[in-house]
Subunit: 211 residues, 4 copies
């Protein structure tokens, strides 16, 4: 019995992680497709190919599972490495970052996360807050840090770097993100994204390049 038990534990260790990941993968798909309320635990179980009961072995309830997904999503965003080398010039850096960012939020299915979080933010404000802090605010801060470096380097002249960072990110999304997230337009082409980001960069530098 003891041996069997040990064996179990070992196996479980391994399976624990894989099962957990398996559940998260299935759940993300379903949550992002259908929203928090639209997703049912049954559908999630089917998508994850586990029994409904198993869901509750790993997650206390539907909300906990959902938040675990967002946690994962936040990590994934954090892992996208932007090249904010303080020594690189602003134009190159901004264009590169703007495009990467735009691709991130406008990727097929990329609107889903934001939509889904916004949906639930109404009833679970903490979820919304945390998502904003971990995903959106974090990007702003990293860009803001870079901008400060370029100000120090004399390339830029900016009053509020946080505001400027936010401005650039908003500019990059102009005319593309909102139609996409409201399903009024398909995901934009790479070509169009490049154009919009270039326009954003031009505008940004026109305003903030040190004279």
């Amino acid at each position: 019995m003891v041996v069997a038990s040990d064996e179990h534990l070992h196996v479980v260790q391994d399976e624990d992680n894989s099962k957990r990941r398996q559940i998260l993968d299935g759940a993300r798909k379903v949550f992002m497709d259908l929203g928090f309320d639209g997703a049912s635990m049954g559908e999630i179980a089917r998508a994850a190919q586990v029994s409904k009961g198993t869901l509750y072995v790993y997650f206390a309830d539907k909300s906990a599972l959902f938040e675990a997904i967002l946690e994962q999503e936040a990590l994934r965003h954090g892992q996208v490495v932007f090249n904010f080398d303080p020594a690189r010039d602003a134009e190159t850096t901004l264009k590169e970052f703007g495009l990467a960012y735009l691709q991130l939020v406008c990727r097929p299915g990329g609107g889903s996360a934001i939509r889904t979080v916004m949906a639930i933010a109404e009833r679970m404000p903490d979820v919304g807050r945390r998502y904003y802090a971990r995903v959106l605010d974090k990007s702003i801060n990293r860009l803001s840090g870079y901008l400060k470096a370029r100000v120090a380097a004399g390339e830029l002249e900016i009053g509020e770097c946080d505001l400027a960072a936010s401005q650039f990110m908003e500019l990059s999304k102009a005319s593309l993100f909102l139609p996409f997230v409201f399903q009024a337009a398909p995901a934009p082409s790479e070509q169009r994204m490049t154009e919009v980001v270039e326009s954003a960069t031009r505008m940004f530098l026109a305003a903030y390049r040190a004279r």
Copy 2:
């Protein structure tokens, strides 16, 4: 007697409208507080102080009631009169418009509509599309029209006026709207909104003022 009869008709007319309005008012509150799925017809009936059955006398189903509210919201947006007099100079006009727009989307409870619509756009894409077209796209078009006039007047020099209009609107919301809509920050002060809009205007003109 005839007069009394007429009066009755009027009263009925009024009460009819008032009942519908009563339902819409209650429903908006509940929908905006809890989202489409979170709101139950029972709760809405209670909030509107009518019976559940009465809801279905005026609206075919939950979706119809929801869309009626969005319709109303769209009308409300449409009735906000922006002064796009083609003869006025861009700086004044943009500052004024930017502030009015920002106040509109960041008013207490103003994030709810957008949140709620985004939420449902996942499963009811038509609703999202229509809302985008009626509310967001419409504002862009009106601003774009004004910009074209200023280009013709020689004050501005713009490649794509639609993109520029979208850019200005995004700029105006920078650093304020997203935290607000994700409940990560309260509605911004008038003071702060003014500052952000002025920064947006500066940036816009730095890029697009005719040299």
Copy 3:
């Protein structure tokens, strides 16, 4: 006022009957199409082109309205005049009656009454009983009376005339009524009805013609 009141009464007298008939006509259609449970008072009101409230002026409730329809249907059946002249020979009379009867029960929509009554007979046995007595049993009795006359006339030799009457009626419907009432076949053609009734008559006379 008194005059007006009198005028009212007069008008009402007339309208009462016409409205009542109007309601019955609409209600029959709906009840026969949809069954007792499937028919809603709203639909009936629409079909009868009166308000829902008016229904309750003339009939206490849904059941009362339904029974009034059956009453009417029974009267209508009773008014179908079969030629049971005791002097006519059996072969002619039976063929004629059989065909008329078959046409009555297999007319398009003719299965509806029976279906509908059977449906409700489960929960309102009185309704079923009364319908059987007024419609089906009555026909049997009239035929039975005729058969007795022909027995007396020496043309037929029958032990139980009631049973024989019932047998002839069942024979007449053989292979046609059941498929029709279960919607497994459309209403039979006149040609086929004639054939079946002739076969029934042959069979009946083979058994009951006096030797």
Copy 4:
């Protein structure tokens, strides 16, 4: 342990079936007593002593449950073995079959199935059609097959065997089934059924016995 595990599986197997049967038994009772519309899923759940939710674990919806009961009823009919040995003489065979058939459709509660199906045939024609095909038409065909054999054997002389089969079945029910199904009379006594079937057989043979 393995054995225990096997036992478990068996138990589950059994309980699975037993739960389904439990539901079907409760549902049949309620459906037959109240008709399709009159029966509520709540009442059925109570009669079957399961929760409302469990009903939906085993059956997709109310209609599916209803059709499962009809299926069962059809099987039951199909399992009634009539002795249609082609070598047996017609008189014996017909009397035996007629009585068995009459007992089947006039058994206490036996009218319910037919009533209930007829009722629903209005709005769910497929259900009616299928029931007719599986239960009524099937019996006709089996009898028809036997009759053909007796024609070949020279005992009978029949133009249309299908019609003749239907005629015999209708004759057997004469004066008994309709009053019973409309609740105008209780289930007939065995004595009376025998008499009616004998009369039917006499009549049938008078018409179709080879001369």
